[in-house]
């Protein structure tokens, strides 16, 4: 008897599961099939010229929390789009807090939308593209529907956006440097007679003076790991291969002829660096709790607990200005410990926009994006709000915020996906902080003299073939690599040997080989 009931229940269960399986199976299928059909129809009719007789409404997902006047501003944008391409647009936001969870779910559940912000590295680009979430942007497609974008976005940017040889995003066009500089306190430099900091030795002299003489100030804001880039990579002209797991696989950005990749942990330079970090940590350059501390990179410096911070030049200057507002006597500024080394421009794929693979109107979406990026009127609206309400234009390339700017803060409502260096406005300030001028001068110099031009600056690694290895390496990095970089291991050489052994076991050589293979293939395709 009991058995029969068990059997019955089981059959019931299996039936339900199967029914569910079937229904679940069918839905995504027709969800996909429909748009493809309509796409084909559209394309057929578009062989001659672009037909925009049918009015469409587009939907775009952006990151962040929006702003109070988003609907108002995008209403204005819609008016222009309606006139020019017979389309309207609405936006929805995936907030900072939960885009990691919701972004992939939008695609899993087949949600109906057309455009979405994306970014390589931090904005779901590679993951979504390899899972077939984005619409492929062929050259033909781009040339047909976004001719103006093709004139703006440089060739190298499209190369950076390639995943297995195909492009899935329109990269933004802005020239920024991720190169880390070091924010320091001018008053402390004067106090200890340090005139300039232009090398590692200068920096260490500064740090030593502080460790010896200041009881309440540590030399470096908590995260000792911040020195990794200036010390280990930048000063040696090394660059991490884009898309590789964590800072382990490098190429020599200063030398365009060298396209051989290096695994950093086995180099003598890494050993030297590790010993240096241990020495620094032992001297008390940063807190012993470095790896756990909740402090941000900047807080201790801004609050006067630390004598320096490490970050890219924009952020350092931002915090320096903040300090100089509150404590002008601290004379915050920034220094570069490798002032003559070439540095690459940030990848253009740092921000971008993609089209949903199941969008019903990919062509119109592309045309809309074309306007967002290259139409001055639309660009200004999306970036700065409504002229006379949120901002006041100062000439063609500057602006000042107006009283209502808080309802649509300039350049914060996720317009970064279609940044365009040619249309960008600068904030107009009457008496800028000296740091600001120093930054402008530095960047001018970098642009003119110090920008690297290495073929691999445009290359991106795709981890598909080695994703298990990459997963393991990611976790081992936290466990074995980071502690070495903040100098809190007991015995540096032993720790490095263990790191190398673990990484080899996890397959770092395989990843290196795969990366080199992709590099060679990429270079061959360029020739």
């Amino acid at each position: 008897m009991g058995k029969r009931i068990a059997v019955l229940l089981l059959t019931l269960l299996v039936t339900v599961l199967m029914i569910s399986a079937c229904t679940v199976r069918e839905r995504p299928a027709d969800g996909n099939a429909q748009p493809t059909q309509s796409q084909q129809k559209d394309q057929d009719s578009q062989t001659t010229g672009i037909d925009t007789s049918k009015s469409v409404s587009l939907k775009m997902y952006l990151l962040g929390d929006g702003a109070a006047d988003v609907d108002l501003v995008y209403g204005e944008i819609s008016k222009i789009l309606k006139e020019k391409i017979n389309a309207t647009i609405t936006v929805d936001f995936l907030s900072w807090a939960d885009h990691d969870t919701r972004y992939p779910l939008l695609f899993s559940s087949g949600e109906d939308f057309d455009l979405i912000f994306t970014a390589a590295g931090w904005g779901h680009y590679e993951q979504t593209a390899t899972k077939k979430g984005f619409y492929e942007l062929t050259e033909d497609f781009l040339n047909t529907y976004a001719p103006d974008i093709m004139k703006v976005v440089p060739e190298i940017a499209w190369d950076q956006a390639k995943i297995n040889g195909k492009v899935y995003m329109v990269p933004n066009y802005s020239i920024e440097y991720g190169y880390d500089v070091i924010g320091v306190r001018g008053d402390l430099m004067e106090k200890y007679g340090i005139e300039k900091i232009e090398s590692k030795e200068d920096l260490e002299a500064y740090y030593d003076a502080i460790v010896k003489n200041e009881t309440d100030i540590t030399p470096l804001a908590t995260q000792g790991i911040g020195l990794q880039y200036p010390y280990l990579f930048q000063s040696r002209g090394w660059q991490v291969v884009r898309g590789t797991p964590l800072p382990l696989i490098l190429y020599e950005t200063a030398n365009p002829d060298n396209t051989t990749l290096v695994s950093v942990i086995e180099t003598p330079e890494f050993r030297e660096y590790a010993h240096k970090m241990k020495e620094m940590a032992d001297k008390g350059y940063w807190s012993r709790d470095s790896l756990t501390s909740n402090d941000t990179r900047s807080d201790p410096w801004v609050l006067g607990k630390a004598a320096s911070m490490v970050w890219n030049v924009n952020n350092v200057s931002y915090y320096a200005q903040q300090i100089n507002k509150e404590h002008p006597e601290w004379k915050a500024t920034f220094v570069d410990i490798a002032p003559n080394v070439k540095r690459p421009v940030n990848p253009y794929t740092n921000n971008g926009v993609a089209i949903n693979a199941i969008s019903r109107n990919p062509e119109r979406a592309m045309m809309a994006l074309n306007l967002f990026m290259t139409d001055k009127q639309v660009y200004d609206l999306a970036a700065y709000g409504i002229e006379g309400v949120h901002y006041k234009a100062v000439g063609d390339d500057m602006y000042t915020p107006l009283d209502d700017a808080g309802r649509f803060p300039a350049e914060t409502v996720c317009n970064w996906g279609w940044n365009n260096e040619n249309l960008k406005r600068k904030l107009y300030v009457e008496n800028p902080d000296p740091v600001v001028i120093k930054v402008q001068e530095a960047i001018e110099k970098w642009k003119n003299e110090l920008t690297s031009n290495h073929p691999l600056d445009a290359f991106s690694f795709t981890e598909d073939n080695v994703k298990n290895e990459v997963a393991v390496i990611s976790t081992l990095t936290t466990q074995y690599f980071d502690p070495i970089c903040v100098g809190i291991v007991e015995d540096v050489d032993k720790a490095i040997d263990e790191l190398i052994a673990k990484m080899k076991e996890a397959g770092i050589d395989k990843v290196l080989q795969e990366a080199q293979r992709q590099v060679d293939q990429y270079l061959a395709s360029k020739r």
């Binding site: 009991g2 009931i5 068990a6 229940l9 229904t23 679940v24 839905r27 962040g64 929390d65 929805d92 907030s95 900072w96 807090a97 939960d98 969870t101 919701r102 779910l105 899993s108 559940s109 087949g110 949600e111 970014a119 590295g121 931090w122 904005g123 920024e176 991720g178 402090d295 941000t296 990179r297 900047s298 807080d299 609050l303 006067g304 607990k305 970050w311 890219n312 924009n314 952020n315 931002y318 915090y319 903040q322 940030n346 740092n350 921000n351 803060p409 350049e411 914060t412 970064w416």
Partner: protein
């Protein structure tokens, strides 16, 4: 007689002393961090970052609360949504749990173990978030529906088993007597078992209430319309947005924005206080039902 009384007094004395010390100590350990949170929430952000927490506010400041209540109409609305959802969810959940628990403990119900296993099995295996999300959004079309906030937390197997276990302890005599009196299965549940289960109903009711009250996850997944945000999600967003934004700036090497100046540490603490405040009053309500009182004799007689 006198001897005996004295002896009993000493054992009760010893017991009470240990009892007061142990529970007092545990309570103290639970209280201190909360006091630190409370005082941090009234402190100045900079001093907290610089000097850490303390038992008294550092440089009394209402900055964090000002940020929390920046948009009073939204937070008021969020309180309302959360309260209504919590009340409805608790009533439905408690009914479902107690009814199911009752059936599963009926010793004359032959299939009770099979059904228990049927329920328990779901705590072991799950398909993860992707299919669940697809089910909720595509098939049940619950996006932006209040049901999406109620349904996922309605029925919890852990609660069910605790419920069933308690009812198991109610002597069978009660049920048997009722059957003899001609009570049907449902009226036994309703008239006999439920009244005898007050302590566990209070406990599970409390658990369900807390689960609804503390829920932000379902809001995050299914609610886009900000007039339907629950309190926890609204607060969770406030704080995490600021932090995530800072983190993304760090990763992308972008430009730091105005977010940086908002308090985060003290804000976090203020949010905890704002959330915990009202719900802590639900507890004494449940406590009322923790009264010894079950006696078989009473019914038999």
């Amino acid at each position: 007689m006198a001897m005996k009384k004295k002896k009993r007094r000493t054992d009760i004395l010893i017991f009470n002393i240990t009892g007061y010390i142990v529970t007092g100590l545990v309570a103290l350990l639970c209280l201190v961090p909360f006091v630190m949170i409370l005082s941090a929430s009234f402190s100045e952000e900079k001093l907290i970052l610089k000097e850490g927490f303390s038992l008294l506010p550092r440089n009394f400041s209402l900055e964090a609360y000002r940020t929390v209540f920046e948009k009073p109409e939204i937070i008021g609305r969020a309180y309302l949504v959360t309260t209504v959802i919590t009340i409805i969810g608790t009533i439905l959940g408690l009914t479902l749990t107690s009814m199911t628990g009752y059936v599963l403990q009926r010793k004359d119900f032959e299939w009770r173990n099979r059904f228990s296993f049927f329920f328990y099995f779901t705590t072991l295996f799950s398909g993860g978030i992707v299919p669940y999300y697809i089910l909720m959004v595509r098939y049940l079309r619950l996006k932006d529906s209040y049901l999406a906030l109620i349904l996922p937390l309605l029925f919890n197997v852990f609660n069910l088993i605790v419920m069933k276990n308690y009812m198991n302890g109610i002597p069978v005599a009660f049920t048997e007597a009722a059957i003899i009196d001609g009570c049907g299965d449902f009226s036994i549940y309703y008239r006999i078992i439920l009244p005898l289960s007050k302590p566990v109903l209070a406990t599970i009711g409390l658990f369900i209430t807390l689960a609804y009250w503390n829920d932000w996850y379902n809001s995050m997944l299914y609610i886009n319309d900000d007039s339907k945000y629950t309190l926890q999600y609204f607060l969770y967003m406030r704080i995490n947005n600021i932090e995530a934004y800072k983190k993304i700036i760090a990763q992308s090497g972008g430009m730091a924005g105005s977010f940086i100046e908002l308090p985060t540490q003290t804000l976090r603490m203020a949010l905890t206080v704002v959330v915990t405040g009202p719900i802590i009053f639900a507890y004494p309500f449940a406590q009322k039902y923790f009264v010894k009182g079950i006696t078989i004799g009473a019914i038999k007689g």
